[in-house]
Amino acid sequence: MQTMPKWADIVLIPLINLFLAFFISGLVILAIGEDPVAAVKLMVEGAVGSTYGWGFTLYYATNFIFTGLAVAVAFHAALFNIGGEGQAALGGLGVALVCLMIPWPHWTVALVAASVGAAAFGALWATIPAYLQAKRGSHIVITTIMFNFIAAALLNYVLVNLLRPAGTMDPASAKFPEATHLPTLSDILNSVGIPFAARTPANVTLIIALIACVAVYYLIWRTKLGYQIRAFGKSEPAARYAGISSVKIIMITMALSGGLAGMMAINNVMGEAERLILNSVEGAGFIGIAVALMGRSHPFGVLLASILFGFLYQGGAELALWTSIPRDLVVVIQALVILFTGALDGMVRAPVEKMFLMMRKGA
């Protein structure tokens, strides 16, 4: 029986969860002797108070949209892909190879090819754990964690031994050629007459991220495959009984998930750094977990949650710059969001359900 209206489930409960997470974050700020109100003010000003701030907020958000969608797609099949970090790192390798190996005539062509490269490498890195889960029964969570570490070691090896230009000490690839540089958001907006701060990293990848949101929505709720994925996620035996191959669904879902995580690399590697560096993902793969949980695995929710985390990231950087609150505050907030929207969801849900039941009885 539906105990509470739909809006409560998708709006009210996430908001209460979020409120609890932020409330405790505020207490943490108080506990280390800083003023939470001033901190929020500084974060808002720094992250969304100017187009310069937005340029960074949207750049981070773009990363999180990809990794969030990746986790969300896997959630629909009841798979917990914790390996977004490694998949995005491998995506970066795909982008770097595409950009460095082939002389591209124009960024548009390079972008398409790099997207394919990023998605393919990310997908490949996700399908190995998927295969091991589907065929050998090893737990996908553990394997994807292990693959994060293996990816880090692999990237370290490739950067130090293979991609590093001769004569440099830095474990990073060569700079990508000029023709592969993506137009930034300010280039695009200024060209249509909207003023937007230059020298910000948000770039054309944002549009691809938005397209990815729509595509994931369409896939999950408007196609046969999406139906199969959701059916499998709700009940594996029922899906099997209906003739849905579990091996096929696990493999395809994880490939999609890894591909999405990998595509994050066109934003950070191709769009921003314009070369492949060590640890280019910087934890965005893990933020995808928080984003997907908060967004209730719905692309629109993921989009909103990504912008929120983009705001937190940029705001956190501003805080670190102007106050003595380290950037790690964002990690704490991220942890609390995961805790309240993910693990402690039942704590909030039960009393709210009870409240609605009481209201119904009263009416």
């Binding site: 943490v28 090893s138 553990i142 570490f149 370290n156 090896y157 609150i325 704490v332 039942g346």
Partner: protein, 322 residues
């Protein structure tokens, strides 16, 4: 490679295996009780920080150990609250705990010590002293065994010996006591335990508490035994290696010892690439050694070398039938 170099490597193997072993046994209790715990890393990190901070302020390493255990137990309590009481997703709760510890340690560390998230270096009573076992010096001249005893077995901090003693102790508790039987049962078939009139919730909280205790010792050892103070992210993935070792050990205490010694050995030898190169006559990539525990775990999990079967009710919150 001469005998002394070998002994040095074995000595650091034991040092490096200790936190892995403690964390692995911690995970063993938790997972045998049906609670998956990927938050070992976070608990170790939090324990390391609070142990180092307390030891730095009070100058007493024992108070530091207690503080470390307390910090780890608080996180364990949180994990229990989320995954036992509110029947939340245990994996998600573990992820949250890892991030919480990573963030809080730096945040609080910066606020207390203003050293960029570090604690002041520990000196004197702030660290565990190395214990020379009886006759270590007298027996040093006995060929082969003497130096082995003096170099590898003797000369560690008390926590190393505690960790080693935890292995038979864990085995005894799990396989020879009533509590252990029940704990294992609650990880395999909680409904049966419930039917017998034993509290599933109570047992699972006990499992999680033991896990917190052991992770606390592991973390305290990192900051006050292996190192001398806390540095940001000092657990450096050890919680995950311990998790890997746990699977490698197929959730058994003695195998956990062997698995963590193996992984400790891999870490120790990664610190001495020169030795490895002279031994193998070709250069082995450090990155491969770093990744080896994880690769081995994947191989084991995939069942290519024996099958690792986790406790059957692991990860499932228990719901009483109505």
């Amino acid at each position: 490679m001469d005998y002394l170099t070998l002994l040095q490597i074995l000595d650091s193997t034991l040092r490096l295996a200790t936190p892995l072993l403690l964390a692995c046994l911690a995970g063993l209790f938790s997972e045998r009780g049906g609670i998956f715990d990927i938050g070992l890393e976070g608990k170790m990190l939090a324990a390391a920080f609070f142990a180092a901070a307390t030891a730095a302020v009070t100058g007493s390493v024992w108070l530091g150990l207690l503080a470390g255990i307390a910090a780890s137990m608080v996180l364990s309590g949180l994990h229990g609250l989320a995954s036992i009481t509110f029947r939340g997703n245990q994996l998600i709760s573990g992820v949250a705990i890892n991030f919480l510890a990573a963030g809080i340690t730096v945040l609080v560390g910066q606020s207390w010590f203003k050293l960029g998230g570090r604690t002041p270096p520990l000196i004197g009573g702030g660290r565990f002293p190395e214990i020379t076992l009886p006759f270590a010096e007298a027996l040093r001249d006995v060929p082969v065994i003497g130096p082995f005893y003096a170099e590898v077995i003797s000369g560690h901090t008390i926590l190393v010996y505690v960790a080693l003693l935890c292995v038979p102790l864990s085995w005894y508790i799990l396989f020879r006591t009533r509590f252990g039987l029940r704990l294992r049962a609650v990880g395999e078939n909680p409904a049966a335990v419930d039917t017998a009139g034993v509290s599933v919730i109570g047992l699972r909280f006990a499992a999680v508490a033991i896990c917190g205790l052991l992770c606390g010792i592991a973390g305290a050892y990192l900051a006050t035994g292996l190192g001398a103070g806390f540095v940001k992210d000092m657990s450096a993935g050890r919680g995950f290696i311990a998790l890997a070792a746990l699977i490698f050990a197929k959730w058994r205490p003695w195998y956990a010892l062997y698995a963590t010694l193996l992984f400790g050995f891999l870490q120790a030898i990664a610190l001495r690439p020169d030795v490895l190169e002279s031994l193998l006559h070709f250069k082995i990539q450090v990155q491969l050694l770093d990744a080896l525990p994880y690769i081995l775990t994947v191989v084991i999990l995939a069942g290519f070398v024996g099958k690792a079967v986790p406790p059957r009710a692991g990860g499932e919150p228990y719901v009483k039938e109505r």
